[in-house]
């Protein structure tokens, strides 16, 4: 079976899929990829099911060696990538041969990059999914020496590219009322949406801290609220009124009050915001939220049709380099006629 052997890996890499719905009552949140749109993009590029597992890489990638021929795709936060030293295009699918080395560097924007294999990563499922859930103690972070075995890959198409939606620099987050919104006074809610936030230093797959100037955003009776169900996207205020936007690997219940819930379609933007990225919240109604989510899901379904062939595929780039066209390229300073005259 083909696969990738991990030679080097960053500290926050793990196998992820769409997660495990249905275990809320047992205390396990759905979890899965922090940026599920990236999973869908990878699946579109490889012409396969978005439910297949990929490697999620937080902040930085690693180095991988192919144990056999396989297809890969790179999505999510754009990272520098090269195959045997030759630069690879991000948000595209590529072919690898046995023994070839793939290196993935630091994110140029955003946080979570994804490495997909044709056929998906075939780790042993636990409780119905392959997603590592660190909070639940299901699986562990990827380590050097691990083998990422690919599942059966019936397809052979590679060399496709997709224009990714830019969700890597923060921006506006649409938020709707939830069952605890009324615990926050009107002026606190107004101040909340009027505040410029930036992503704080405390952030992981469970949630992301939002920091701002000025006082916090406390609810009435904040410390004595009955613990209640938590949903991904909930904006929870800690005891001192600091907001955290909870992500898919959040706890399932909690007692700190939630001022509202960020739309699922805006959560990749939260997960992908680098420390310091600017963000604002905007209240919207339920109908507008449902419409926005429906449009987003429609766009997901259109991803396979949006894939285009790479103008220069991998083989062509290698040929170009072997002909040393770069060193022969015209420079802005050089006199284009000088070399010709001396010949």
């Amino acid at each position: 079976m083909s696969g990738l052997k991990i030679l080097r890996i960053g500290p926050a890499a793990s196998v992820q899929d769409m997660g495990r719905p249905g275990l809320l009552g047992q205390g396990i949140s759905q979890g899965g990829a922090a940026d599920t749109l990236a999973l869908a993009e990878g699946a579109a590029l490889l012409r396969q099911d978005p439910g297949l597992a990929a490697l999620e890489m937080g902040g930085i990638g690693g180095e991988f060696e192919a144990t056999g021929p396989l297809r890969i795709a790179l999505t999510g936060a754009p990272m520098t990538a090269a195959l045997d030293g030759v630069a690879l295009i991000w948000n595209a699918s590529h072919r690898m041969e046995a023994g070839q080395r793939l290196t993935i560097g630091a994110a140029r924007a955003g946080v979570y990059g994804y490495l997909h294999l044709g056929g998906g990563i075939a780790t042993e499922p636990a409780l119905g999914a392959r997603a590592v859930h660190l909070m639940a103690g299901l699986g562990r972070a990827a380590e050097a020496g691990d083998l990422l075995t690919a599942g059966p890959d019936p397809n052979s198409e590679a060399g496709l590219v997709l224009a990714a939606e830019d969700r890597f620099k923060g921006g506006e987050l649409r938020i709707i009322d939830s069952f605890q919104s009324h615990l926050f006074a009107e002026d606190v809610r107004a101040r909340f949406t009027g505040t410029a936030f930036s992503r704080g230093s405390r952030a992981n797959r469970m949630g992301v801290e939002m920091v701002s100037e000025g006082e916090g955003f406390a609810a009435e009776g904040q410390l004595n609220i009955l613990s209640e169900v938590i949903l991904p996207g909930d904006v929870q205020m800690t005891g001192d009124g600091k907001p955290f936007v909870l992500l898919r690997e959040c706890q399932t219940t909690g007692g700190y009050p939630r001022i509202g819930t960020v739309l699922p379609c805006d959560l990749p933007k939260v997960a992908q915001a680098q420390a310091g990225a600017a963000m604002r919240f905007r209240w919207i109604g339920l109908e507008e939220g449902l419409d926005a989510q429906a449009r987003y899901e429609k766009a997901w379904k259109a991803l396979p049709a949006a894939c285009r062939p790479l103008v220069r595929d991998l083989a062509a780039i290698r040929d170009l380099l072997s002909f040393q066209l770069i060193s022969g390229a015209v420079s802005a300073q050089a006199d284009p006629f000088a070399t010709g005259e001396s010949a």
């Binding site: 809320l24 205390g27 909070m135 639940a136 299901l138 009955l226 613990s227 169900v229 005891g239 219940t253």
Partner: protein, 250 residues
């Protein structure tokens, strides 16, 4: 919207884009917890198309659904109809419940916030251990982390607020206390509750036939033992730290 505070329970409210929360009370109460457990079972039995999953929390039932298959208004009508079908506050507890006795070290370096909690409750440490160790509590809900129980109710003297600052990390098996309840931790985690006791009880094993040790409705007592006794029990029984269970008769 402020009327939600004073309106008569049960309350049917929206939660996020695709959730409904049915609440039987706004504070911890034995009957509203029983109502939540029974109502959740009844919602599951309806097998409504478009319902993705349900859970019972302390006094509420959460229903996650797909609004394109099941519009909000339609689900809300179904849930209202079920609410009036019987008096849920009188519903019996689930069948097949068990009583767990769990050896527990209170205080020491293993549970360093006992003194602080005792102080807040107006007791000496010895009084706090007697009070907490004698309490027979029920699994009110499973949540926060895999298989992790919220346990109650403790007496009003234990109605202590959460801390304003989080305790950065408590270990697996930690018994923490706030607002008339215990939580027993299934994994190391930060918490706003006070770490009063330590057990060797494993709540969740991913690979096991029965991954989750507890079910809502089970009862527990955290019986005080000395630190040396506790360490010996954990050595002899690494999975449950000497805990024992018996069936509760109907």
């Amino acid at each position: 919207m402020d009327s939600q505070d004073t309106a008569a329970y049960p309350l049917v409210r929206r939660a996020g884009l695709s959730g409904i929360l049915v609440s039987f009370g706004g504070s911890l109460n034995e009957a509203s917890n029983r109502a939540a457990l029974a109502y959740r079972t009844a919602v599951e039995t309806l097998k409504l198309e478009g319902v993705v999953e349900t859970m019972a929390s302390l006094a509420s039932v959460f229903v996650r659904f797909e609004p394109s298959l099941l519009p909000h208004e339609k689900l809300e009508a179904e849930l209202q109809e079920l609410l009036v079908a019987q008096d849920w506050l009188q519903a019996p507890l689930p069948a097949g419940r068990r009583f767990w006795r769990v050896p527990t070290v209170y205080g020491t370096d293993l549970a360093p916030q006992l003194a602080e909690a005792a102080d807040a409750a107006g007791m000496s440490e010895a009084q706090a251990i007697d009070s907490l160790g004698a309490a027979r509590v029920r699994v009110l809900t499973i949540g926060f982390a895999p298989g992790q129980p919220y346990l109650g109710s403790l007496g009003q003297e234990w109605d202590l607020p959460r801390q304003t600052e989080l305790t950065p990390m408590v270990p697996r098996g930690a018994l923490v206390q706030a607002i008339c309840q215990f939580v027993l931790f299934s994994n190391p985690a930060p918490t706003g509750w006070r770490h009063v006791g330590q057990t060797g009880f494993t709540l969740f094993q991913a690979g096991a036939d029965q991954p989750f040790a507890l079910r809502p409705g089970d009862e527990m007592q955290f019986e005080p033992v000395s630190k040396p006794e506790f360490l010996k029990l954990c050595e002899d029984d690494p999975m449950h730290g000497g805990a024992a269970a018996e069936e509760i008769g109907a």
